[in-house]
Symmetry: C2
Subunit: 403 residues, 2 copies
Amino acid sequence: MKNILVAQSGGPTAAINATLAGVITCAYSSGITGKVLGSCNGIQGVLEERFVDLRDKVQSAQDMDLLCQTPAAALGSCRLKLTEEQQYEQIVEVLRRNQINCFIYIGGNDSMDTVHKLSAYCSEHGIDDISVIGAPKTIDNDLMGTDHCPGFGSAAKYISTTFSELERDCHVYTMKAVTIVEVMGRNAGWLTAASALARLNGAKGPNLIYLCETDFDNSKFIADVKQELETCDSVVVAISEGIKDKDGRYVSEQVQSSAVDNFGHSYIAGSAKVLENLVRDEIGCKVRSIELNLMQRCAAHIASAVDIQESKMLGMRACQAALEGETGKMAAVIRKGDAPYTVTYETVPVSQVANAEKKVPADFITPDGHDVTEKMINYLKPLIQGENTVIYENGIPKHLALY
Amino acid sequence: MKNILVAQSGGPTAAINATLAGVITCAYSSGITGKVLGSCNGIQGVLEERFVDLRDKVQSAQDMDLLCQTPAAALGSCRLKLTEEQQYEQIVEVLRRNQINCFIYIGGNDSMDTVHKLSAYCSEHGIDDISVIGAPKTIDNDLMGTDHCPGFGSAAKYISTTFSELERDCHVYTMKAVTIVEVMGRNAGWLTAASALARLNGAKGPNLIYLCETDFDNSKFIADVKQELETCDSVVVAISEGIKDKDGRYVSEQVQSSAVDNFGHSYIAGSAKVLENLVRDEIGCKVRSIELNLMQRCAAHIASAVDIQESKMLGMRACQAALEGETGKMAAVIRKGDAPYTVTYETVPVSQVANAEKKVPADFITPDGHDVTEKMINYLKPLIQGENTVIYENGIPKHLALY
């Protein structure tokens, strides 16, 4: 019998609990699993030994469905960065004390760094009875080694749907107006690119799309907007929160403090607000800025069925790998074709993933720097397909709480 | 045979096209209707005689379904305020030239003012062959004469669902954090109150809810937040955009310009941002502000089935009244009971509606001023019930364009 501990980390997504459901499904069905524990608040909960028994918490088929439609880590998350060898030692002690053979960590770049270092620590210390496996998760879609990341497809579906709705909203008046919509993404523009999918049913979609991979130039931006205003009353612009000028200075830095989080990331927000003021000053028409803010990562009510299904499969793949004794790996989705869209689920060395970032390739962005190419559309389109049957109660979606 | 002209006005909602669909349905099925025209951009389109033939644009059952799930006025809107008698004269000329007997205007307070003045003009000038009827619409829910307003229920469903998702999102970390969510509503707090519905399935919901009907006090707010932080890591606060202090000064005014729109309304936004900075200064914990912005009024993908059904019925009732020769009236929904929820559709004199505002009654707000009472919940709950079957294509909702 093997005992499993699973934890979640990083920022919330609409699909991270589908991956947890996948781990649980594989564990329950494997026939060789004993304890299935969940750590509360990621690796921090491991250090503090705050566990819940998932065999108690997730029993019925309906529990599993509710878990899949619950946004944000049902086991909680953490922002703890492991910095000392003593912390790895302590983690191994906790795992041993609980007879854990498989530790599965669902998360993004930082979590994969933890998987990498913890598995390396085990190898270096001759600990061969503990498997450490990662399962990817991030709406940013910036993890290496996997075609795309669980949570991204659902965020992309929310974003494309929201842009299609905002376009209807912004087009009702005849006056000249500019709407600037800020989408999450510090260094990778994948989510912002998803705004282009609002065009799939024939609508115009955003007039202009600026990803953070392209140097942002205020004067060119104003010229682009002016040109669009010549033919359109309503100009909708999609921008990444992390757009920066050619010197690498964030557009938002003009108004933000220099605060940083535990990982040294700057707190940034407000690029759209900066550009709103710029348009008001330079063009003078009606202008509004919108941040899709946390809604884009937790809108589970409009999750992508493809994303939820794949997220679950990756949880199963990660659990399977751990049960088979693999370690230092991450479950990954590998695309075999766009049309028809086909994928396989594999494991890749987590060392390839940790501390790397997958940015948007140059040929996914148009040469003028304010739109995406057909290659991008072909890549993105399969990921937002399908709608889940969401269980509502009292008019709002039902969620499952694990602790 | 009677000829119908229908127009839409005011800010977008997710249900305003269901009301249009109701007008069309009644017109098509009446057996006494000739032309069914739509004016583009409300009363402005009437003055400019920019009409579309709805018998061409909306033919099949699927067209009708798509119209009902398309957010924001499919016929466009306007912000034109009629100020001169000569404009009414011109409107009557246009209606006569097009042999229009029934003019139906779907909109909010300002549109009902137009219905009132136009019907009064007709009466004063002995014009008895043109019926002018209003159909209500506003996410703000502040129209008199009707139990609630089409569009409100869908916005309330979006808001309650979003708060339930944000709560999951904000609770994943163990650190003390405050999230302040700004909801639309200048002078009426109905939409903000809908955040309380996030509690219907047992979740905590917003810790604190401040409506614009209650005098807002910065010191009390900070004390309230501090008290919540004593027992909760994550404190979620719902505020109306229009919260103001005891002297009537908007909280947002500290950072906003004094710009006004054509109706003399101040442009206000940013109350949550002001309070975010206040919490940072006074408490010093992690704090974030979120504006639900345009999404709350155009998120047709999560419309309330009750709202869409009632909105359609009100369009039918308005058309029926016009065909029967009523004038100067507004179709209204009258509640007969909460449990079971039952309503009737009637017409009320539009003079009772125009230029009045229905605010939240005092007994719908708790005495401490930072929550709503059971009376409010009983009023709101029926309005967000039921989910529409939304038609998706290519992974995003399909919309219908009329012009």
